[in-house]
Assembly symmetry: C3
């Protein structure tokens, strides 16, 4: 509907995301100046470890920015642009498409992203990583494509070079329970000193009986661990083994993406009985819920031994669009948050282990109504529980602001854990951390300007929120 | 409790609803200057088409401003003022009352409206339509009454004159499935060139088996369509016919006010069976839910043929106050929002037709928690789905601000559809659109001032939000 | 993690909690200047009446500020500090602890409270009540302890002296249905003219069949009233008697802390049958719900006779931490809000008595999602219903701001009832009212600065919100 008619300049304002009120802005500037160059701690994300083990150049601009980024193509899709033309992979492979044409479609529709975090992250990458100084539009589409395409072929844009340029101190990838961790071992053995890459243990495929890969994953799980895995005891032993495998490549956390926050505290007999029911495939949805819930409690129990931090990421209704799931599979922008209850759900786990300060349970939500009503009150009481940052759809300036406004007064800042970029879009990582640091500085600046916090405290907090808390909470 | 002791002046400030921060205010002024005089597109509302067909003068001030406006009398009622004295119609007719005394009660209690949108709309009308320059109070009650009463008798205050003065390009009324549309035909045949009045097809009375008028409405529906209507096929045919009748008077949308957002996707046999159960009156609440849900899907299917936009307005718990319903009937200010679920509810419909970009489904909510959690993520993915503006209790400056803050980052601006005034208070229409334009300009100004949007983009967006999006989304 | 290295000054800024925007700040200053010295009306709280009857000095700083204040020790506990060391009472008595060491732990961890209302209240008390001018930290811990400890021994810091110094006009305590009210009678008979202390009737222990004290409380209830209490009629008669006992010591309200907002409207026969079932102990959770709900309706019926205001405080999930409950009992910072429904829940009560403007039902919530969706629409319609202020976890600057932003546009200001401090922390009462007045003035200032309210109206409102509304709503 609205296309750019002439090339506009692209220039990132130094004060972006700060309040326009001069008093708040000046405080925010001062706070930000102290944290902008801190190294990046990325304790939870979805980058591909093979990038850092193989260190090969990335592909073309469309392969890098459009086809793998569901934030980008979901918006284009919502306005009627078909995914094939954008090069988004189907189940049976990448559809025939012209990458430059895909890029042009993206450029022509760049106005759709106005007011979204994607726009902010992309502009940051275009300006700061690729040195572009005109705004993306139909008119500048080819300039963009050629500039980025050429840069991607150079050594400076190989994954390790970017990692170092981005000032990343440590990044965590996420791997499944049957992953060989070969890429991680290769990185460790490569002698690369420029960056630290660790994994996170994400065993959903062998914990969620309703996961489409459950049966196959269990078989692989048996194979990779050398355990029986079909008795409750050896199944748990297999998890313990794999956690050790992960710990060997630097892993400090496990991660769990269940549909709800349900936990359970079954006796060993009950657990074994339920597990056998699950394995027979003769279980109800409620059985599956309890099983997943019990496994969170089991993971917490293992954490008391091996020290892994337990992350719970509930509330995503996955694969809402059946036709799209059938043609394209998982993670194609058709996941939607749903209402999520925490008070009853977390009680079994918190009553079992929540009073133990050695344990660290980091809870996330896609349901912002739980911030002030459930999560901040729980985290403001239980020693083991901390709040993950605003997540996914809420990893955005307004989302971050709401998170701070709705959690700080009850949980304080020190029951939160800094920022997670949670992304597979490697190039956007500095942009995302920059947005988080700016929004936190802006929030702190408001508190200082309204005389609710002293400036020396704000400085300490800015550093803690940008760097220290993530490092401490994730033991990195 | 608090009455005014001397007449205060009434003057609408040029900067109302803009931030007091000079940087934001100046940007908002600039944006607003470009959109304030754009014609009004009113794609959804409840004005009476007979006003425009007959073009008769309105009644006295109380008949115009108090007795029909549940925003006004619900607030007075909540503070103990009885409805009879205000002239609010009972089921058995308008109670005996003194219109001037009713007006005085309203005036004495005008402080109750402080901080409400009603106050803002009313002051706009008093100042801009009636030229009043003192604030309404017990002291000025009679001045107001006389001034307005006299004006209402003049030709300049006839409906068509006001329509033209208000710069309304097109307005949609809402009619039921058994309406003859005579007033619409009269308007079309009258040769009036000053304004366009269309209808919207609102078939709740023959779609909701729990509607108190269902049985009678079905009989009339048969009569007006000449269809049997008691077989599933002919019932659907009757809807198709009536949609054509509506399309003939310019209708571009249907509208559905169900208690939930539930949709269904039954086979033809299941649908016919359920329909027969409904007709026999031997159905459960769940049956009624599924039937209403199936009919949304049927309406979408018809829309693919005839092009009508599908509006879904769920979540109003109607007639909460039983005694009031018994004495006064529907729509008397006793409707209350209730929690509304969308992710599961809309899935059948969206899985059936949501991937078709030819279809336009506009979804509203009275449950603000769904903005960022459910609606923006759904609208930011499905090509057929768009978000209606903040509605009813949330059609207010703070409500509009929350809507933008909670939807933009995920759905963008272009999955929204501009403003709906949704009112039966004809005189308030310019005031309501003015509030919406101002609040949108203020929101855009904040984005520009915080360097999250460029000024040229904000100008385009201001025009789109004020005019283009409504026109495009509703095909007007 | 972060401790202060040198003593920072403590100085309460005159503009705290006002916007940093000069236009808004100047208006807020002007509004606040007029209300800051208004007497305190404290219509709902949990101070101990024996303080005012006996007028004995308070204990040491730890006994006063840490051990009884779950806002304080829950935060320390959440970060791994054990409750015994802080002197928090166990079921079997106060654990051995060194009060000065407890205070040092608090001081060392004072950074945990950054951004919380506790920090703001505490600093106010430290500066304004104890004249401290350095910030609390590990370095200043002993200075604080000694200064406060010494002051607490003086006559100026006895309860009545503080009451008068705090400019409290009237305070309500809360007592159970078996309380003798001796302290209240002593206060009344003491000839003290410096302050008015009334009670509130909180009969949860004999109304909630699931209350751990129910059986014992019923026996005491029989004894203190001389009624049978085990027949429905005499049970109600006992309530009526006790309400009169409370009214004799100035009580103007009853208060009810149920887990949900459920109400009921049973026939007398149904109620008697249910009551007998309850007494036999042979009841379901649903029976208990209905019984509590019916008792709210009974309380409303009694209110129509004796004039008590009915307060409903639902939504706290009590004693979430089982181990802590077992060791320490109730009210130890382990209560968590849960989702609360009002539309269906309040319908029986509101349909029975909600249209009677003689009745005053004040409804609170811990679920902020209900503000704009349910509570404001209900209070903006029913003559008997008013909204209590933002409560407990939401009694905070951001919580108060959200309350005004989400209720005012639908319910106006005059369906709200001013501020409740709801505290057992006597010394913090002026601080809490000061925060409320400042936040309300800041909110009004924004409305004025955005030309949504005139300055003369804001002045009236500031006084109403700070003083008049509470006095009127609670008939004090």
């Amino acid at each position: 509907m609205l296309t750019e008619n002439k090339a506009k300049s692209l220039k990132l304002n130094e004060d972006r995301l700060f309040s326009s009120d001069p008093i708040q802005r000046d405080i925010a500037r001062e706070l930000y100046a102290n944290v902008k160059n801190l190294p990046i701690i990325s304790p939870h994300g979805h980058t591909d470890p093979s990038w850092f083990s193989k260190n090969e150049n990335f592909g073309n601009p469309t392969e890098l920015f459009i086809a793998p980024d569901h934030y980008v193509y979901r918006m284009l899709y919502s306005q009627g642009h078909d995914l094939d033309g954008l090069g988004v992979p189907r189940r049976d492979g990448v559809p025939a498409h012209d990458p430059r044409e895909a890029w042009r479609t993206f450029a022509e529709n760049y106005h759709l992203f106005r007011g979204t975090p994607s726009r902010m992250w992309l502009d940051y990458v275009f300006a700061n990583v690729f040195g572009l100084d005109v705004r993306l539009s139909s008119q500048t589409a080819d300039t963009y494509y050629d500039t980025i395409d050429e840069a991607l072929k150079s050594d400076d844009f190989k994954p390790r070079a970017l990692f170092e340029q981005f000032n990343i101190e440590v990044i965590a990838t996420t791997e499944g329970p049957t992953d060989t961790l070969d890429h991680h071992h290769e990185i460790l053995n490569s002698g690369w000193t420029g960056g630290k890459v660790v994994s996170a243990y994400r065993p959903d495929a062998v914990i969620d009986p309703e996961h489409e890969q459950f049966t196959g994953a269990m078989a692989q799980f048996a194979e990779i661990t050398g355990e029986d895995v079909y008795s409750w005891k050896s199944y748990l032993a297999a998890h313990r083994k794999r956690r050790q495998d992960f710990i060997e490549v630097g892993t400090t956390s496990s991660d769990h993406g269940h549909i709800t926050a349900r936990t359970a505290d079954l006796s060993e007999v009950e657990a074994e009985t339920l597990f056998q029911k699950i394995l027979k495939g003769d279980f109800t949805a409620e059985d599956a819920e309890i099983f997943r819930g019990q496994m969170l409690t089991e993971m917490a129990r293992m954490s008391l031994d091996d020290g892994l931090v337990l992350q719970i990421h509930p509330g995503a209704y996955r694969n809402h669009n059946k036709a799209l799931f059938d043609s394209h599979g998982r993670d194609k922008g058709a996941d939607v948050p749903s209402q999520t209850e925490y008070v009853e759900s977390l009680k079994p786990l918190l009553n079992k282990f929540g009073n133990d300060p050695r344990l660290s349970i980091i809870v996330f939500t896609l349901d912002e109504t739980s911030y002030s009503r459930e999560l901040a009150p729980l985290a403001g009481h239980y020693p083991a529980m901390k709040l993950g940052p605003s997540w996914w759809f809420h990893d955005s300036p307004e989302g971050m602001r709401r998170f701070r406004e709705m959690t700080t007064e009850t949980a304080g800042f020190y029951n939160t854990v800094g920022f997670n970029d949670d992304t597979r879009a490697f190039l956007s990582i500095p942009a995302r951390h920059d947005v988080a640091r700016r929004v936190d500085c802006a929030f702190l600046a408001r508190l200082v300007a309204e005389h609710r916090l002293e400036i020396d405290e704000a400085h300490e907090l800015a550093t803690d929120l940008s760097y220290n808390l993530a490092k401490a909470a994730y033991k990195l």
